[in-house]
């Protein structure tokens, strides 16, 4: 048993729902009790969808368990097929139904229905949402394409040359409840079109089973979200010989590498380097003098694998930040995130416990947190600016405006989304500096709200700079801060104050200081170089 107060991912059948709801003409019959229908609100509320997810729940009750739940499954299947007339049917079970072992998939196969049926086995007690989405997408593609497989899987990704047409690619992985997928697809389509590459199909988002049947008509596959599409891409490569791209086009550098990889896979001449960089404003904005204050900003990153890895690279290479922590809740992506962390000289945090993540943030004393909606809440509590870069997300992370993460425009969006909270962070600092000036109007509130502002009021340094800091081991004798030392500490910007306090105390302990005054603080600062 695992004690969970909050979970980053839902159960695997919610992943299956994401695939069904993303597509057209697919219906999902889910053997599940009535409470499981809550999952509809993820789509209608968070994604603000104007249609119900295409899911029929069998909603069996305790009194059905003594009788024939298998009949119940069959009647719901035939009713769903009659009513919704899907082109493909997914059949599966949620955690409770898994225990009663009705095997709804086999039941569906035995009903003589004239449509493709995918029987989903998603172990609810060991797997989670993204795995469920990935498995569902893979099973659906496999079911639809397995009969079309030929003995030889000869596939020529450069066939477009002889056929005298534009090269064609599939965009695989975008789904509902993914992060900004709706706009990423448009941006990548636009990006590829600029290089005379056509999009054959985009799936699962917006695709029908017929579109999946057409996947082999593309020259290569573009794996946009490995969490969802890597297993499908691997299967298509192994069975149809279609190669797939591995670079994720989030950030200016990554978009460039992505284009190079695509060109290479398609046998095209490499894209003109000089033309590429100018396509995004991020590069110039980051170089502009105004961005000087971004240098070395301490940033903590947590999210799904794809977005965390991309964020770390952008933070370091394109914005000149210092990555002080990186992690993911995704076990499937743990290896990749660990490898990235190693490049940054860090140890990755692989955890599904948001309190552990919050503790890691507190310890790393970052000036900016890039995370999921949960890290936004943690950061708010800690008074640290934050931008959301990954699911799980809140309704406010599904903006009305066009705001992709991928491609050139995605890089622009990222610059704004990450830097604006920091501007506000700087503003907080200025408010602190000027709050004693007579012109200052009291009651000014920044986005951090009451709590954030309270923690770094400068007129109450004694209490406040000791708030929200990790407790030091009580066996250690902590040097005493003199009033003068405290006053000096209070002058340090709030977002690094915790770090400075701990370093100074560490230094004082090492050097045998019993009390800390401003000199000790400056000595420590010189010693640690921060």
């Amino acid at each position: 048993m695992e004690l969970t107060l909050w979970t980053y991912e839902g159960p695997p059948h919610v992943g299956a729902m994401r695939i069904a709801a993303s597509m057209k003409g697919v219906h999902y019959v889910l053997h599940a009790p009535q409470g499981d229908t809550y999952a509809d609100l993820l789509f209608t509320m968070i994604e603000r969808r104007g249609e119900r997810p295409p899911v029929t729940y069998t909603t069996f009750q305790a009194r059905d368990l003594g009788g024939d739940t298998a009949e119940l499954v069959k009647s719901h299947i035939s009713e769903a097929v009659d009513r919704f007339k899907p082109d493909a049917l997914l059949v599966g079970e949620s955690c409770t139904a898994e225990l009663i072992q009705d095997q709804p998939g086999s039941l569906a196969h035995g009903m003589g229905l004239n449509l493709p049926i995918v029987s989903l086995e998603l172990p609810a007690y060991s797997k989670k949402e993204n795995w469920g989405a990935s498995e569902t997408f893979y099973q659906l593609v496999r079911t639809l394409l397995k009969d079309t497989l030929k003995e030889d899987n000869e596939h020529d990704p450069t066939a477009w040359k002889t056929e005298e047409r534009h090269p064609r690619v599939n965009l695989l992985g975008p789904s509902l409840l993914g992060f900004r997928c709706r706009d990423d697809v448009l941006e990548i389509q636009k990006l590829l079109n600029e290089h005379n590459i056509d999009v054959n199909a985009s799936a699962p988002l917006g695709a029908s089973p017929a579109d999946l049947l057409n996947l082999p008509k593309a020259d290569i596959n573009v794996c946009l979200y490995p969490e969802i599409a890597e297993s499908t891409c691997t299967w298509l490569e192994r069975n149809l010989g279609m190669p797939f791209s591995k670079k994720i086009p989030i950030g200016v550098n990554a978009t460039q590498e992505f284009l190079e990889e695509i060109h290479d896979l398609l046998g095209m001449a490499p894209p003109n380097q000089n033309l590429l960089v100018q396509k995004s404003r991020l590069t110039w904005y980051s170089k502009s003098v105004d961005s000087n204050y971004l240098t070395g900003k301490r940033v903590f990153i947590f999210g799904d694998g794809t977005h965390s890895i991309a964020a770390a690279k952008i933070a370091k290479e394109e914005l000149g930040f210092k990555v002080v922590g990186i992690g993911t809740y995704s076990r499937e992506m743990a290896r990749a995130v660990r490898a990235t962390a190693k490049e940054f000289g860090l140890e990755a945090l692989i955890s599904n416990d948001y309190l552990e993540v919050e503790a890691a943030i507190t310890n790393a004393a970052p000036e900016l947190v890039l995370g999921t909606q949960m890290e936004r809440h943690s950061a708010k509590r800690l008074g640290i600016p934050c931008a959301v870069i990954s699911t799980p997300m809140h309704v406010q992370d599904v903006p009305a405006r066009y705001s992709p993460q991928m491609g050139w425009e995605g890089a622009n969006v990222i610059f704004d989304d990450w830097v604006h909270p920091l501007m506000m962070g700087l503003e907080e600092h200025l408010i602190g500096m000027f709050r004693h000036d007579f012109e200052f109007v009291d009651g000014h509130q920044s986005h951090l709200g009451h709590q954030g502002a309270k923690q770094h009021q400068f007129d109450e340094p004694e209490e406040n700079c000791f708030e929200n800091l990790p407790k030091t081991d009580s066996s250690e004798i902590i040097p005493i801060w003199t009033p003068e030392g405290k006053a000096e500490l209070a002058k340090i910007p709030f977002f690094v104050r915790g770090k400075v306090r701990r370093n100074t105390e560490k230094y004082a302990l090492q050097t045998g200081c019993k009390s800390i005054d401003s000199e000790t603080l400056f000595d420590a600062k010189a010693h640690f170089g921060a």
Binding site: M1, T4, T7, D40, T44, C95
Partner: protein, 418 residues
Amino acid sequence: MGGSTLLKESGPREVFCGLTSIVWLHRRMPDAFFLVVGSRTCAHLIQSAAGVMIFAEPRFGTAILEEKDLAGLADAHEELDRVVKDLLRRRPEIRTLFLVGSCPSEVIKLDLGRVAERLNELLRGKVQVLNYSGSGIETTFTQGEDGALKALVPLMPITKSDQLLLVGTLANAVEDRLISLFNRLGIERVVSLPPRQSTELPAVGPGTKVLLAQPYLTDTARALKDKGAQILQAPFPLGIEGSRLWMEAAAKAFNINATLVSSTLDPLILRAHKAIEPFRTQLEGKRIFLLPESQIEIPLARFLHRECGMELIEVGVPYLNREMMQPELDLLPKGTRIMEGQHVENQLDRVREKQPDLVVCGMGLANPLEAEGISTKWSIELVFSPIHGIDQASDLAELFSRPLHRKALLNQNQLANA
């Protein structure tokens, strides 16, 4: 009167399970913790329904069953002991721990009663451990509260003195107001279940008269009756009329002089009628369809029809307790369609066919109906909002008039899409 048409249907349902009531129960008793013994689905459900991110550490959690728990490789009792110890170490302020059964724990027949018993021995009174089921195979939405309250009944001390016991979670401000009104009527001793601290349970006994503040507390009412309490029959305190009849039922049971009752309540009723009038004007003649979810659909329908002049197309309820609902059913117009149970597809077909002005439904259905041009009201909002009592009647009416007002406003100001 009282000639409602009682219908039943079955099929796919779209309702929450009993776990959802933890969302308001944990707020009512801040010293209690609700530990669901279930799956990741349970954890995901509660956090999705509650939007829990605002809490640093919420007062509810899930002990998620894993493969090894099911395969019998781990002893479920030992595992729960470990999880509970871990939890109590982290949260020493917890005084009452509810172990909440779920669909998976019911199906694998995990005996949470026995677990609670053993934990109580282990913890020796430091923390009271209780259990109930919020599983979706046995309970819907608000029934979870019934289970939790019923679990508290055996712990209630015995009293012989006369008192009024209000049962069902009310917003604190509303509860204070109702108690002060009962005091004005001369009912001195008014207590509540659930209490505001789990350790401050009210007493119960032969002198106790019970008013149910919520219509979904069947099992709790029965348990209180077994303790000698008298359950007062009345409509529920929604709207002016319902609240008045509800309070009058108590007054009558305590032999309060009718003149005192009317001199106390009449001015409030007069004021409430004035307050409700602008909303009544907007709602009058409008047609409403209530989908089953919270179990307060019938009292709401009674209020919306009799005090706001709305036409009732269909009133859905997850289940119908005839005895408890009789005072409400008596007030409904002849021929009101009461639909017990659900076939969500067929019911939505009827919604589309009837084109009501307003539909009361769950969060999963609201936006899809809005997208079809049908205004909606979330039923979950009605279990969170302070809507009980005479003074809240206009607020309750406002909740229903707002979507209509908004639709009119947008239609007036936006260029027609067509």
